[in-house]
Symmetry: C2
Subunit: 355 residues, 2 copies
């Protein structure tokens, strides 16, 4: 789908809400609707008439290259530039991200307009990925899988968490990632009990659990993958915990299907942990949408009301965390379809005993 | 200065504004006032009584370690948790970053409070760095300088921009940076004319200008450095442009002194470019504060009213950009003192002809 087609979907959504247009100021949403990859820009999308994109002088040439089909205005005052180009009416603002001060200024600049919070209207469109987006996510997941496979083929015992994390990140870049999707979580031994652990100088030892939560970014799209392996032979406790997480994760993934309640996969993954006796050791969320942001709508939670839609991409990431001892997390990036969920993270989830 | 001392300065600033307290929701400001390095947190700072820090369950242990001296509340609802702990009165909000929706929710949760936009009150405190901050910035600048020196000692011609940028980033990490301060801008040949250029697969050639805008991050503090070198012998045009930028940059740095108008350094750097005939080829801003954010108050501009204060840290970064041909930028991170400016970026600014 082209950016123009995405804007058409937005115009339809705005018309449904009786809005004359939307001030799109959230930069991720600007990128989604235009393809613009710079660090400062906005787009005014009216229901009637043509959109206007605005950025500052640093991005004059880039805007011309990335948005050949949209009028663009070079200005340091994005809000002022948009305000000038509105017709009277009720316009939406992205009230979940627009600051109180920006809102006040816009109201002052355009006193003839009625401004109304339009909620997460663009985020809602972004939940359902088009072909271009799925291709980028698929590639990001492939690179992530290949990178981890490469790293665990090498020597690990005796190296630091930080060193292994850097190799993993470097390998993703070597394999074609434009960047890493987020700072790699790489935890070993007792550190695996910390859900969000920054790599340290701890030296990996035989018998350790090793947990890597990482991903590649391709064309702005983020992969999010976690695997936990054992360095050497797994002991009985490690096997038990691993099996419990693996079972829970499979139960959650199984329900990531079109038409199924989002809360159902949450319930299934939790029920599995409850039956194995490990629910209390699970302390994070179960999953989230992923795309132009590493965490985006929809979020998997028991409180989430609503059904899954085909072409939504989500993570499923149960874990068990036992302070002082260790932990296991398994996470895939998954494409929702009308049939079986398509797991984009192609790496095995069997327990790997490395070296 | 400890986080507690920073909070005391904030309390004094709030009392001056007749505020009973501040809802600190901007995460960078939360870090400044608490030392907390997680990704979700807030702090309610009352003028009377003790502050309360709030974060979610993921950061329970981290909060206990990083903020031993502040009461902390574990909750998913930071705004709700803060609202519960206020006494009636007029409280400040960070209206430049708080979203319209968050503001509306807070007003609903705490109907007895009057909420008032408190502007950039914490950002204003952050302009003047304490000893701990200056030490981190100094170290980040040292690492940046050593990394670039290391990289330009090696072979450059025949390698891609992307490859050299990765080596530069990896070298900063090897030298002790916790992360890179921002995605490295590394431009060669005609690409040096683009002020913010993402590294490509262009192969570096003899005779190229090579521009690197990069920095290390240490303890959350960012270095920001740009150097431009010539691969081989510089031609007359390269020498002319380099000398013009070097002169402008020195003129701007010279006025980064306590008690001098911020606008004066802007005027001096521009006057230098005007006298050399290159002012029209300078298309960006001249500099900005740097600290916990890569761009923070104060920003150097002709329109800036106000004088510099000792212990403010700023960049000075004039450039000349000639589309299709090339460009030069020189940028230092500079500590303002009562006397001569202290340039934290210790790398030479003489024109280097490499290899």
């Amino acid at each position: 789908m082209t950016a123009a087609a995405r804007r058409s979907r937005l115009v339809a959504a705005l018309a449904d809400r009786d809005l004359a247009g939307l001030f799109v100021t959230n930069l991720v949403n600007v990128r989604y609707l235009t393809g613009f990859t710079g660090s400062n820009g906005a787009i005014l999308v009216p229901v009637e008439g043509e959109p206007v994109f605005l950025t500052d002088g640093r991005y004059r040439d880039q805007a011309a290259a990335e948005l050949p089909d949209v009028e663009h205005v070079i200005t340091r005052d994005l809000l002022g530039g948009m305000a000038e180009r509105t017709a009277p009416g009720t316009y939406g603002i992205e009230s979940h991200t627009m600051s109180v001060d920006a809102h006040a200024r816009l109201a002052e600049l355009a006193p003839a307009l009625t401004l109304r919070g339009a909620g997460r209207v663009v985020e809602s469109l972004r939940e359902v990925k088009d072909d271009v987006e799925v291709a980028a996510l698929r590639r990001a997941c492939e690179i992530s899988t290949r990178a981890l496979q490469t790293v665990i083929e090498g020597r690990l015992v005796g190296r630091t968490e930080r060193d292994v994390a850097r190799e993993l990140e470097g390998t993703m870049l070597d394999l074609g990632a434009e960047a890493v999707a987020f700072d790699t979580i790489l935890a070993s031994g007792p550190n695996t009990a910390i859900p969000h652990h920054s790599p340290t100088d701890r030296v990996l030892a035989a018998g350790d659990l090793l947990k890597a939560d990482f991903g590649a970014r391709v064309d702005g799209y983020h992969a999010d993958c976690t695997r936990t392996v054992v360095l050497g032979r797994a002991d009985a406790w490690q096997r038990e915990v691993y099996a419990a997480v693996q079972h829970s994760q499979a139960a959650g993934v199984e329900l990531l299907r079109e038409g199924v309640e989002v809360a159902a996969s949450d319930a299934a993954a939790r029920a599995s942990l409850e039956s194995s006796g490990w629910l209390e050791a699970f302390t994070t969320g179960l999953g989230h949408g992923v795309g132009l942001e590493i965490h985006e709508d929809p979020f998997i939670a028991g409180s989430h009301t609503g059904k899954l839609t085909s072409r939504t991409v989500l993570t499923m990431e149960p874990g068990i965390y036992v302070p002082g001892r260790g932990g296991v997390r398994i996470e895939d990036t998954v494409l929702v379809t009308a049939g079986a969920p398509e797991v984009l993270t192609t790496m095995t989830k069997d327990l790997l005993e490395i070296g």
